[in-house]
């Protein structure tokens, strides 16, 4: 489903971000991308959602060759993916309900369907009673749950989470990881980039470990090991 084929990414000012990275992810998998800060995890995600283009190699997502998607076709492509970021990236002028609804609105879904689905998904992430709250009225954990609700509401094929627990305390971290596992159980592929040892070790799922832009380990029931 997702294929990285000999990917290298070089930045003019910041040197090498990725060097000859290759891996495949099958539908329904839960894969963690592990590694220190600067190992290249975020670059992998940026390449996957078409935010960056590789210097060498090819990225496939289903029938798309991501590195060849034209700018104007990126929005349609991104509707196949749900993305969760460390800094939540919620729209500050929209409340929780509207932030989640936005993912359906951009896809042109009818209002009736939106009105039915959004409360259900917000209930699922435990925010049924905070639908009208704006991001600045929510805690970090709550904001991230809104972001997860937004990432999954349109039933994407893949949910990608880039350090989703980076700004959260252990309790909220646990909640968020549980949510991601739940999404995976519903059949959605999950790619989780994190440098949190606890999270990776507790998951006991496939781990791709990156170091200095290279894949140094790829194990089916991996642990967080950097050397």
């Amino acid at each position: 489903m997702i294929v990285f084929q000999g990917i290298s990414k070089h930045y003019e000012d910041h040197g090498v971000a990725l060097e000859d990275v290759s891996f495949e992810i099958d539908p329904g998998e839960f894969v963690s991308l592990a590694g220190r800060s600067g190992a290249g995890k975020s670059t992998v995600i940026k390449l996957l959602i078409g935010e960056e283009k590789p210097s060498k190699g090819r990225v496939f997502f289903g029938q798309y060759e991501v590195n060849k998607i034209h700018d104007s076709d990126l929005p349609a492509f991104r509707r196949h993916i749900g993305v969760v970021f460390q800094d939540f990236r919620l729209l500050p002028t929209k409340n929780a309900y509207e932030n989640v609804a936005f993912a359906l609105e951009v896809a042109g879904r009818p209002q009736r369907e939106i009105a039915e689905l959004v409360p259900q998904v917000l209930d699922m992430v435990g925010l049924g009673d905070k639908m009208k709250n704006f991001p600045n009225e929510l805690s970090g954990g709550e904001r991230q749950r809104v972001a997860i609700a937004r990432a999954m509401i349109h039933r994407p094929e893949v949910v990608i989470a880039d350090e989703p627990t980076g700004n959260l305390d252990p309790f909220h971290t646990f909640e968020i990881v549980k949510l991601l596992e739940k999404i995976n159980q519903l059949g959605t592929t999950v790619v989780l980039a994190t440098h949190d040892k606890e999270v990776i070790n507790n998951l006991e799922r496939r781990v791709i470990t990156l170091d200095k832009g290279r894949v140094i380990r790829d194990e089916q029931k991996g642990k967080y090991i950097l050397v």
Partner: protein, 302 residues
């Protein structure tokens, strides 16, 4: 398609309302710019009236020898009216000239008595000629000085007042071209101020634009609401600027009227308010929406 358009308008109105302070600040700047814009239109009206009022005061008078008959003068009048440079002519017969003279000196017994003592009317018949454009008086004077007319004509006031007429003609021309240049320049400044204000407003939303793109919003859905917001800003600023300028014109109008009696600026504003509203709306909404359109473009790359 309809769903997308209705969402664009819905988001636009909602953003406008929720970005209260940003909207207020942008509308304030746009109102001032549109105030300048409508002031420029009014300035144009004033300069035009001032120019035409000066122009109206310029004419040349042709004085005919006392032995030229009325028929001959009327023939010359007719031939003058057929010239493309001539706007109007007015014939003043010897009797009328005498009556005007007597009326003007009614309070001066010495002159009245002197006139009465003369056996014949000493005043000459004349034609007052107005040109379409002040620069054309020279050509009209040349025509009147031609050899075929020389025997009928005693004098032409143009030759005596040539300097004054030319100077006035130059003032009229300068006022008109100067006014136009100032108008264009200030309208450009007002347009640039609005453009930059909107750009700053969009700049403060650049992160949101990025988020929308990542969530999968198409370019039109990202850009559309900002364009709608720009249109709302322009529309409100239009109304506010008209409300703002009305009392100013009401106050200034009587003073201007003293200098240019033919001009009632407030009345002009009042009778042309619908037209002015649409000019401003066009200026405000077009600049507001175009500025948004171009400002968002640079954040739509990824």
């Amino acid at each position: 398609m309809f769903t997308i358009i209705s969402r664009i308008f819905h988001f636009g109105f909602k953003n406008f309302w929720r970005n209260g302070w940003l909207s207020t600040a942008t509308i304030a700047i746009m109102t001032l710019s549109l105030f300048v814009f409508v002031s420029l239109i009014m300035f144009g009206v004033v300069t035009k009236s001032a120019a035409s009022s000066i122009q109206d005061k310029i004419d040349i008078s042709v004085y005919f020898n006392t032995n030229t008959s009325e028929d001959q003068i009327l023939n010359i009048k007719q031939s003058l009216e057929s010239l493309s440079e001539v706007k109007s002519t007015e014939y003043i017969s010897r009797d009328q000239a005498l009556a005007i003279f007597q009326q003007n000196h009614a309070n001066d017994p010495t002159i009245s008595q002197a006139i009465n003592e003369l056996a014949t009317n000493p005043l000459e018949a004349s034609l007052n000629v107005k040109a379409n454009d002040p620069s054309q008086y020279g050509a009209i004077a040349d025509y009147l000085s031609s050899a075929s007319l020389a025997s009928y004509i005693d004098s032409i006031s143009y030759t005596q007042n040539q300097n004054v007429i030319e100077r006035l003609a130059r003032i009229v021309r300068d006022v008109e071209t100067g006014g136009l240049a100032v108008t264009i320049l200030l309208a450009l400044v007002a347009g640039l101020v609005v453009f930059n204000t909107v750009r700053l407003a969009i700049y403060s939303n650049r992160e949101e634009i990025g988020i929308m793109r990542v969530v999968g919003a198409s370019n039109s859905l990202v850009r559309g609401p900002y364009v709608v917001e720009g249109m709302i800003w322009g529309g409100i600023a239009t109304i506010l600027s008209l409300i703002l300028i009305a009392p100013g014109l009401f106050f200034v109008s009587p003073y201007l009227n003293e200098f240019i009696p033919t001009l009632n600026l407030f009345q002009y504003f009042y009778t042309h308010i619908v037209q002015l509203f649409f000019y401003e709306l066009l200026f405000g909404v077009v600049i507001g929406s175009f500025s948004s359109f171009f400002a968002v473009r640079r954040y739509l790359r990824n």
